[in-house]
């Protein structure tokens, strides 16, 4: 009679024990990562109707963020610029550029551009740009090095725990309000001196801070 169970079957309990303990852990870890914004959202880089390059406009030409996103200092919303803002320059510069055709089209016809949203918070989270800008949180802190991006990419997970990390300890992310749009700003050596010149903030960590 042949052996039904060959000898290596003896290792089965050990293998099963290891797999049984690691497997669920792997599943949990997988879900933890792959279902989270770290995987689903970070790196999101949709193709826009016009391949607007922040790298060129901000990084090389040195436009300030607020030239286009003008409402960031006063409103909850950092606006996407109207077609008019593009045409301020492009009525004269690169008048016949092929990629800019949709912009000219929009300016002429009056039909708005339809940009693809990159940074999106859930509808029940009410983020306010103006509070953050006035508290000295740099654009780069949440949006990354926009000045190096050919196409805008989501750099931060924008998940609640990520928000809360900073709300619980905003110090390391703060800078003088005048440096908010500076992409290359680095904190000074003397962090304490910096902290002294910033106005004290008390960011909310309660639900009601952001959810209404």
């Amino acid at each position: 009679l042949a052996q039904i169970f060959p000898p290596w079957w003896n290792k089965l309990p050990i293998v099963a024990a290891i797999a049984g303990s690691l497997g669920p852990l792997l599943v949990i870890a997988g879900v933890w990562y792959y279902f989270s914004p770290w995987y689903t959202d970070v790196g999101y880089r949709p193709v826009q109707p016009v391949p607007y390059s922040h790298k060129l406009h901000v990084g090389e030409l040195g436009l300030d963020c607020r030239y286009c996103h003008a409402s960031v200092e006063v409103s909850a919303v950092a606006n996407i610029p109207p077609t008019r803002t593009c045409m301020n320059c492009h009525a004269l510069v690169k008048k016949d550029s092929e990629p800019l055709a949709p912009i000219r089209e929009s300016a002429q016809s009056g039909r708005p551009m339809r940009w693809i949203r990159v940074h999106k918070l859930p509808d029940y989270a009410y983020f306010t740009h103006v509070s953050h800008v006035s508290a000295g949180i740099g654009c780069v802190t949440c949006h990354g090095r926009i000045d190096e991006m050919e196409t805008v990419t989501q750099m931060a997970p924008l998940r609640m725990s990520w928000c809360l990390d900073c709300h619980r300890n905003p110090g390391p992310n703060r800078r003088p309000v005048s440096e908010v749009t500076n992409m290359k700003w680095t904190p000074p050596r003397d962090v304490q001196a910096l902290a002294a010149q910033l106005r004290p903030v008390n960011p909310p960590t309660d639900c009601s801070g952001c959810h209404r």
Binding site: T40, S71, R111, R114, R117, D206
Partner: protein, 1011 residues
């Protein structure tokens, strides 16, 4: 005073339906399927299918979302920053000055304009709900000719041809029906129209009309005047079948004034130590329980037809006491204790110059004339009531409609223009307006929807909403106010100004130009643009009120009254024996004359007295019901003057016996998806000769019943002492007297808690000593229960409408409700107390302790926060809430919301989904906005920076809200009032919302006088 409060007759009789309501907050087991929607099984199948689909695309990013910026951004519009504009809502001959909030170009929230005399910063439920009318999905979307879509220019051409024909005969065949208005531009255009067509026939008709008052004032003073009440200056107010606090168009002003007079001396100080002013005293004599009657210190039940004799008896006493004319009508009124009239007369005489008599709109002209004469006699004119000429106005007149209809029937009218209003629905039934209209070859009707009139008209023109149109109006007292659009007409609607402008000048001109032309002479020479911009900014022209007119009262009160009495008795003799019932027609507090029928917020707003939603049953007193063998919800047949109507009956305690009251405005057939077929059309028995009240009605049982949805038993707190009240004298009792009360075990001033309750908590107390600590007080002495707060909350917080059937199951979603309690003999003259109940924001909140997922938690500012995205819908919190203020989304009530209605939503507040609990947040979005604005301005949050929606809307200023850690804040001062108490304090929930007890101010002379 220790009293027993009850909410409904069902509670007193301990009927099973009340017990059910007490035991279950939501009256039906299980959630929960919409009657003709998807069943649970279908849902699971679909859910399974969508889950498997989700497996394919799941865990990938949410759907792609687009951002669509402007092409050329308007200069002053920044996304995310709401802007406010001043405008005016014309309503009959009133004008409400408003500040309207606009988000990215769409008006979302209406507030009163603090500097405008008609609103004084407050609003009413009608004003609050008007924004929903703008986004009514059933508004007509096009000009139509016999139902076919046409353009405005086609109408202009068609009108040109009609005009040609009418110019030749001086307008003999042209007729116009309009609502009453008070507007310089409309008045100017109407005058121009009359010059162009001298023989035009113009009828001004309001279904709910103040014609009688105007006629009475005309006969008393000999001039066309209207009156302006100053309730804040009145110490003694007598309301005769009148409802100045709710259904009167000037209710906002009146309530503000009344509450101010109510607050005086309410905190228990003696008059000499306080401001010197004593609390006002309100007497109400009425047949139907009105909100004014509910606020009265003394209320006498008297049929509307008995008001004239009552007034005669009162006038005799007032005159006799001063040695004036002899009594024309003897000293008494049937069924009224003469001591009551004596006491009232004494009080009025003692307060000469500070008294006020008001008569209701449905009372005959003679009563109004007599009231005017009496007010003058008592020296009240110029103090508590002032008169001004009705300028730029078209005054309502039933007789003008009567003569127009006979001309229409005679075939002499070629073209009829209905310039707003809905006469086919609301004109007196004996005129048969629809049949008369059918005889007119050309009919043109302006309407928000294709309403009953527009449906029968040849041309229908969509009417622009006031938030879409240019116009102007004279507010009470004559203040010139400007109607400024916040948005272009959504459906190419036209305003009455534009239509009348076309007719008067044969030129199609924009409303702006027409209004500017009117205002040029008003603003005077020089810097017209600057002055005009000032007017647009303010919403009204400062200093434009009309001068007060000192009326030259021609007849002494007794002469007026004897005439009125003769009229009244002639009427009574003409139409039925005295044993008959009296029929009374009431304007609806929600729908008014039916014009707001398609407004879901108003349909679902519980009536202040009956607490009924979505219906208009006939109201009778318990005794009358007993005599006739009626019970609530039974269908009765009302036979009156050869016509009849079948509708359910509702027993309302406190009604005068022998009165059946019908509310108008319901039963519309062409209102739209919300209002069509809701309720019963009582206009079908209302006649031109008796639009207010009449005798000779017969009730018979129809042998069926009809379910009604009342919220009066919802949210019951098991009969525990919730409302507290006292009287002025008790509050002023000296400490020794209070000590005696305690020893004698007699209930103290506030009735319930004599000794300090000993609280003991199992929970570690929260410490709230940092930052802002928000709190609220609601002054039950000021609150009149008008529901403005409910609608304001609904508008601010995107609260859904659930419909009649869901209301019957206790599933209404209002975050703040207004409880109404009766106390006293149900078959007699019970008194009313009202109590708004929002979330109490308990510091030790019972809801938080039972939530398994921490979806309701406390924040550092003391707010009890509801986190929608955590909620899994166990409803444990609601079970454990002693105040029953939590609301559960049994359905996805907003799922089928038409796109246009979404424009009315507040973008700063989450729209909740099915299966989620929700409740009052203390307007956390407003708190956040106030804090951010203060921070950006570089200052601390000041008291008054944050106003909740209910607080801002409240015409009585009954709600205070603010930071409890700011000792100078109004809310802290209010909480220091001795009347302050917490609801269900013994539960030790430490609510942040507390109440100030109600104070009554009874006349000691009337103690024990039966009413």
């Amino acid at each position: 005073v220790s009293r027993t409060y009850w909410r409904s007759l069902a509670q007193i009789e301990d009927r099973p339906e009340f017990r059910a309501a007490r035991e279950r907050e939501f009256l039906e087991e299980g959630p929960s399927e919409l009657p003709d929607g998807m069943t649970r099984r279908d849902m699971m199948m679909l859910l399974g299918a969508s889950l498997s689909l989700a497996g394919v695309t799941g865990c990938i990013r949410r759907p792609v979302e687009e951002i669509v910026p402007f092409v050329t951004a308007p200069e002053d519009t920044l996304p995310g920053i709401p802007r406010s504009y001043a405008t005016t809502m014309p309503f009959r001959r009133s004008a409400y000055g408003l500040i309207v909030e606009s988000h990215e170009g769409r008006p979302t929230k209406v507030e009163g304009n603090p500097s405008h005399p008609a609103t004084l910063g407050a609003s009413s439920s009608l004003v609050q709900a008007s924004v929903l009318g703008l986004y009514d999905p059933d508004r007509s979307q096009s000009i139509t000719l016999k139902g076919a879509r046409k353009s405005w220019s086609e109408f202009v051409t068609a009108w040109g041809e009609l005009a040609k024909a009418h110019v030749s005969d001086g307008g003999a065949g042209l007729a116009i029906v309009s609502e009453s208005f008070s507007s310089p531009t409309l008045a100017r255009l109407a005058a121009e129209l009359r010059t162009r067509y001298p023989r035009v026939q113009w009828a001004t008709y309001d279904a709910v009309s103040d014609e009688n008052r105007l006629a009475g004032l005309r006969s008393a003073t000999g001039r066309d005047v209207d009156l302006m009440l100053r309730l804040d200056r009145a110490a003694v107010i007598l309301a005769l079948d009148a409802d100045p606090l709710l259904t009167d168009p000037e209710m906002i002003r009146h309530t503000r004034g009344f509450a101010a007079g109510r607050r005086a001396g309410a905190s228990g100080g003696t008059p000499s130590t306080g401001s010197g002013q004593a609390m006002n005293r309100l007497y109400a004599v009425e047949g139907v329980y009105s909100l004014t009657g509910a606020m009265a210190d003394h209320r006498l039940r008297l049929q509307s037809g008995q008001i004239a004799p009552f007034l005669a008896a009162l006038a005799a006493r007032l005159g006799a006491a001063t040695g004036g004319v002899a009594s024309p009508a003897g000293g008494g009124v049937a069924g009224v204790d003469p001591r009551w009239i004596d006491g009232l007369a004494k009080d009025l005489l003692a307060n000469r110059g500070a008294g006020l008599i008001v008569a209701g709109e449905r009372q005959p002209a003679a009563v109004h004339a007599a009231v005017c004469a009496l007010n003058t006699h008592l020296g009240n004119t110029g103090k508590t009531v002032s008169y001004y000429e009705t300028k730029d106005a078209s005054l309502p007149s039933v007789s003008s409609l009567v003569s127009l209809v006979s001309a229409m029937k005679a075939g002499t009218v070629q073209t009829l223009v209905v310039l707003g209003g809905n006469p086919v629905f609301d004109a007196p039934v004996d005129l048969d307006f629809a049949a008369a209209m059918a005889k007119v070859p050309h009919t043109i009707a302006l309407g928000h929807t294709v309403d009953e009139t527009s449906a029968k008209a040849e041309w229908h023109i969509p009417r622009a909403h006031y938030l879409e149109s240019w116009g102007d109006a004279r507010a009470v007292g004559g203040t010139l106010s400007v109607v400024q659009p916040l948005i272009l007409p959504l459906f190419d609607g036209r305003s009455p100004v534009e239509v009348l402008g076309l007719m008067a000048g044969d030129k199609d001109r924009p409303g702006y130009d027409i209004v500017r032309e009117t205002w040029k002479p008003i603003l005077g020479e020089g810097e017209v643009d600057t002055k005009w911009n000032r007017v647009l900014h303010d919403g009204f022209l400062a200093g434009s009120e009309l001068p007060e007119v000192a009326p030259n009262v021609t007849a002494p009160p007794s002469a007026e009254l004897s005439r009125s009495l003769a009229e009244a008795s002639a009427k009574a003799g003409a139409s039925g024996s005295p044993g008959d019932l009296e029929i009374v027609f009431l304007p609806s507090p929600s729908l008014h004359d039916g014009r707001f029928a398609n407004d879901g917020w108003l349909q679902e707003l519980p009536d202040p007295l009956t607490k009924l939603t979505w219906d208009n049953p006939a109201l009778v007193s318990p005794k009358t019901a007993e005599t006739l063998g009626l019970a609530s919800e039974q269908v009765i047949r009302v036979e009156y003057a050869g016509r009849s109507i079948e509708l359910p009956v509702w027993i309302l305690p406190g009604m005068a016996d022998g009165v059946v009251a019908l509310t108008v405005g319901y039963g519309r057939s062409h209102a739209g998806r919300i209002g069509s077929g809701v309720g019963f059309d009582t206009f079908t028995i209302r006649r031109s000769t008796a639009p207010g009240f009449d005798r000779g009605v017969k009730l018979t049982k129809a042998g069926r019943s009809y379910p009604l949805s009342a919220t009066q038993d919802h949210g019951s707190m098991e009969g525990r002492p919730l409302v507290r009240e006292s009287t002025v004298t008790e509050l002023r009792a000296t400490p020794e007297e209070k000590e005696k009360e305690k020893e004698g075990k007699a209930p103290g001033a506030l009735g319930v808690y004599e000794e300090e309750p000993h609280h003991f908590s199992l929970w570690k107390p929260h410490v709230y000593d940092q930052g802002h600590q928000w709190g609220m007080t609601i002054d039950l002495n000021a609150c009149i229960g008008c529901n403005a707060c409910m609608t304001a909350c609904q508008s601010e917080n995107n609260v859904p409408v659930v419909g009649k059937i869901q209301v019957a199951k206790g599933r209404e979603m209002h975050w703040i409700r207004v409880d109404r309690y009766f106390s006293g003999e149900p078959t007699g003259n019970p008194e009313v107390a009202v109590q708004p109940v929002p979330c109490m924001h308990c510091e030790d909140a019972p809801c938080e302790q039972v939530c398994p997922v921490a979806a309701t938690v406390h924040d550092a500012q003391g707010l009890n926060v509801m986190v929608y995205n955590r909620c899994i819908g166990t409803r444990y919190c609601s079970n454990n809430c002693p105040y029953k203020v939590r609301r559960f989304n049994f359905f996805n009530f907003t799922k089928d919301t038409p796109d246009i209605l979404k424009l009315a939503m507040n973008p700063d507040v989450t729209v909740r989904a099915r299966g989620v609990m929700e409740k009052c947040t203390y307007c956390t979005q407003r708190i956040n906005r106030g804090k951010i604005d203060a921070k950006l301005a570089g200052r601390a949050v000041r008291d008054g920076d944050v106003k909740t929606a209910c607080q801002q809307a409240c015409p009585a200023s009954a709600i205070e809200f603010g930071d409890l850690r700011d000792p100078s804040s109004r809310v802290v001062k209010a909480k220091a009032d001795p009347r302050n108490y917490a609801l269900l304090e013994e539960l030790n929930t430490k609510p942040r919302t507390t109440y100030l007890a109600k104070v009554r101010n009874p006349n000691p002379d009337l103690k024990g006088v039966p009413t």
